[in-house]
């Protein structure tokens, strides 16, 4: 009898083990459907609060660099204003109707600035948490950029926080093109180094040189055209291949990322609805 009880006790541990492992595994698999896990992820307010606190400490030490960046950006913007004013003043006499002055609809963007409060660069699947959420106007699928270039795409949003899938995650591929030749391909992370990604779908007849600049293609509604994504670091092609293997140095340094802008494309709904209608 005692043996039997001992036997059962021994097995109960195995059952518990299996039970806990099944729970864990279910969580992992469910996590593929990332939206469902927002409750347990770092959008969770307590966890986010703690990260925000720890980040505020780290940020203090980065203030100098951030200030430098800001002032540089300021100057660039001021220069742009002056340039634009000059252009405007030369154009003024010719324009009589306001129709010509309309901004092209695909260029109507607003930026929501946000701060990175948690990010990883050393995993195979990396994520970034921002301190802005639904009440600040952030929605799923919005593009995220920094002053340096493309960062990623918003994947989940809670009331006050949002989680971004950065370029450093094989789950997203961002459509990019060469500034020089307009050939476009998909930018996909290789899973190894946070500084580099691979560019796919560039056929062998395209002329490449090291250092060519890659910008977003504007062919998706997430990013406007012309945001820097990276530069060509290295490329090779085998005799038998039709496509290049291109190594791209990313424009953004994900290790020091702290301030980002979320792109709010104002005509997103209209464009999506129209495209959907024509597909039906």
């Amino acid at each position: 009898m005692k043996n039997l009880i001992n036997f059962l006790i021994q097995y109960s541990v195995v059952f518990l083990f299996l039970f806990l492992e099944i729970i864990s595994f279910t969580l992992i698999v469910k996590n593929q459907d990332y939206q469902k896990s927002v409750f347990l992820s770092s959008s969770n307010s307590m966890v986010s609060g703690m990260y925000e606190w720890s980040n505020s400490v780290v940020e203090f030490f980065k203030l100098r660099a951030a200030n430098n960046n800001l002032s540089e950006e300021n100057t660039a913007l001021k220069n742009q204003i002056i340039n634009l004013q000059n252009k405007l003043s030369t154009l003024k006499p010719e324009v009589s109707d306001s129709i010509h002055f309309r901004i092209p609809p695909e260029m109507e963007y607003q930026f929501i600035s946000a701060k990175v409060i948690n990010s990883s660069t050393n995993k195979l699947l990396n994520y970034i948490t921002l301190n802005k959420g639904a009440i600040d106007g952030i929605k799923i699928d919005m593009g995220v950029i920094s002053d340096e270039g493309v960062v990623g795409i918003v994947k989940t949003v809670s009331k006050r926080f949002s989680v971004v899938i950065p370029l450093l995650n094989p789950k997203i591929e961002i459509s990019c093109k060469f500034k020089r030749s307009n050939y476009s391909g998909g930018l996909l992370w290789s899973g190894q180094d946070y500084r580099y990604a691979n560019l796919t779908d560039i056929a062998r007849h395209v002329q490449l040189t090291l250092g060519d600049t890659l910008i977003t293609s504007g062919l998706t509604s997430t990013f406007p055209e012309g945001i820097p994504a990276g530069t060509i670091e290295d490329f090779k092609i085998k005799e038998s291949d039709a496509y290049y293997q291109i190594k791209v140095k990313l424009a953004v340094n994900f290790r020091t990322l702290s301030h980002v802008k979320v792109i709010n494309y104002l005509n997103y709904q209209e464009q999506k609805e129209l495209e959907k209608k024509s597909e039906e």
Partner: protein
């Protein structure tokens, strides 16, 4: 300090240290030590196995919540906790009734080192396999497993050797 309090304190300290400091370390792109495993390693030997498993699950899930990897650390930690008793029996012969805390003094240096190495390797291998979920990058993954395990093992042995009795 009573063992229970000591362990609660160790739990909190290790989780905070893991998520606030170690998860930000990225040396050469391969090394990400998971020191929190020390909590499981340092629990008393005669701890009931069901309780050990539940503690392992809670520990893993806490790390998961902070690092956006729901389930992975929980799976790996429960997995390694399940084999802890067998591994201890493999390397040492603790008498019935004795309930030491694993360390250099109670296990002996060679047995303790073997115990730590095997446990860390099992844990890291499970974890990195789960993270990759494929064998596409097998060499990178092997390098990650070995280098990260090495650093974790050195950290754990270093911390343990600072203990006086």
């Amino acid at each position: 300090m009573p063992t229970v309090l000591q362990n609660i304190f160790r739990f909190l300290l290790l989780v905070l240290f893991q998520v606030l400091v170690l998860n930000n370390i990225q040396f050469l792109g391969y090394i990400n030590p998971y020191l929190y495993l020390l909590f499981i390693l340092a629990l008393p030997v005669q701890m009931p196995r069901w309780f050990l498993l539940i503690l392992a699950f809670i520990l893993g899930l806490s790390i998961d919540i902070f690092s956006n990897t729901i389930g992975m650390h929980a799976f790996a930690t429960v997995f390694v906790a399940f084999f802890r008793d067998r591994i201890i029996k493999l390397f040492t012969n603790i008498e019935e009734g004795n309930n030491p805390t694993p360390s250099f003094y109670t296990f002996g240096v060679s047995a303790y080192v073997k115990y730590v190495v095997l446990m860390v390797l099992i844990h890291h291998t499970t974890l990195f396999l789960l993270e990759a979920f494929s064998i596409a990058h097998i060499w990178i993954m092997l390098a990650k497993i070995l280098l990260s395990s090495l650093v974790t093992i050195l950290l754990i042995l270093g911390i343990q050797s600072l203990k006086t009795k």
